[in-house]
Symmetry: C2
DNA sequence: ACGCGAACTGGACTCGCAGTACAGGAGGAG
DNA sequence: CTCCTCCTGTACTGCGAGTCCAGTTCGCGT
């Protein structure tokens, strides 16, 4: 319709950048509307309240993250058909991607939301929950495929192993944020990768 | 000095419980003073502002966490002199401890602070940073001891491996919080324990 | 050309919470 | 008796979220 990007997305862009940099609570509506060049009323026209903004941001972020994972492991699959090697390549790509992101990987959105969840309504919390469960399912599936080909050297809980991808990314991002370093998350992923190599070392 | 617990600690207790349950920003001073049975002025007598409260809470928490790790691995060391087995026992104890904590393990304090750091001053951020660096050093030291006895099967960055303890705990707590489950953190620790077993499987 | 609805703007207001200022009170230590 | 520590009470500022509502602009269908 209009050439200039539609206002709603512009608000989301500005808000996302601000929230990633300093957290949701610390980001004022005042500041968002200033950045997006609209009036306060304009903001409330698009979002009922900050909660609605949070929900929209989360939805957008989760979709993007899922698309990223899809793409990443699709590319990995093209490079190698073996499920284990596909996973190892995918994790490597993920680590590289994280390293290239200057400061704020959006992953923090999940943790950030989790730690401020009293500010949000049930809808937002449930969204967050479903996203993590989705990743659990995704990675669990991939690990089961691997386990069909490679006998794990130690028995592991497959749900927990699926969760470990998210856990290691989120944990790494927490460190990164607190330490003001920039490659902790990617290093943690590379360690996890080594774990998988050790765990699935022998063909079944 | 006085028999009834000194007011400052009482404020910290109440505040810590509230913050763990719903986050720092969502905890109002109003509510803290109500819980601690003091006046608003009384609160500001003890703490200049919310920042000072945050700093005091963090200090207390970090001290407690360090004492906990000291105790845990001292007990583990009593049970087994071998550095690897000591570590494995310590992690098991840690996992059990996390599982017994009804809802809110304080670990979240670190992540919580990290994700709201714009609300805090440099002192608080630095405190957080030093705590994590302390744990890195602690675990790195233990892993180096292990590596003197057991040849790691794969080369790993020892700093990152040290960080992985914190990372896995923090990541697990994020999941736990978002999923409203209760044993994710302990499961993640147990997976990390398996990792160590695989990594240090053979004597040097 | 007219009207209608979508996408806004502007201004005035309420409310909750952080933080400030300051005056005063109780109670123990010297 | 007095000073200091540890408070209480009241009254204030200022900010940010959220509400209400009246009015504007502009493209679309008829």
């Amino acid at each position: 319709m209009d050439q200039k990007v539609d206002t709603r997305s512009r608000i989301l862009d500005i808000a996302e950048a601000a929230v990633l940099e300093k957290g949701f609570e610390a980001t004022s509506i005042e500041e968002i509307v200033a950045g997006a060049q609209i009036s306060r009323s304009g903001f409330f026209y698009h979002f009922k309240d900050k909660n609605a903004l949070a929900r929209a941001m989360l939805e957008r972020y989760i979709e993007a993250e899922n698309a990223l994972y899809d793409d990443l492991f699709a590319r990995a699959r093209e490079l190698n058909d073996d499920p284990l090697h596909c996973m190892l390549i995918g994790l490597k790509l993920l680590a590289e991607m994280l390293e290239e992101m200057p400061t704020g990987h959006p992953g923090c959105v999940i943790a950030s939301t989790a730690y401020q969840d009293r500010l949000f309504d049930e809808g937002v919390r449930e969204l967050n929950r479903q996203a993590i469960l989705g990743w659990r399912k995704r990675f669990r599936g991939m690990f089961e495929e691997i386990a069909e080909v490679y006998q794990p050297r130690e028995a592991v809980n497959m749900d927990a192993l699926g969760d470990m991808v998210s856990s290691v990314v989120e944990g790494g991002l927490v460190l990164q944020r607190a330490l003001r370093e920039h490659n902790n998350a990617s290093e943690q992923i590379m360690l996890f990768r080594t774990y998988l190599k050790l765990l699935f070392a022998s063909k079944a």
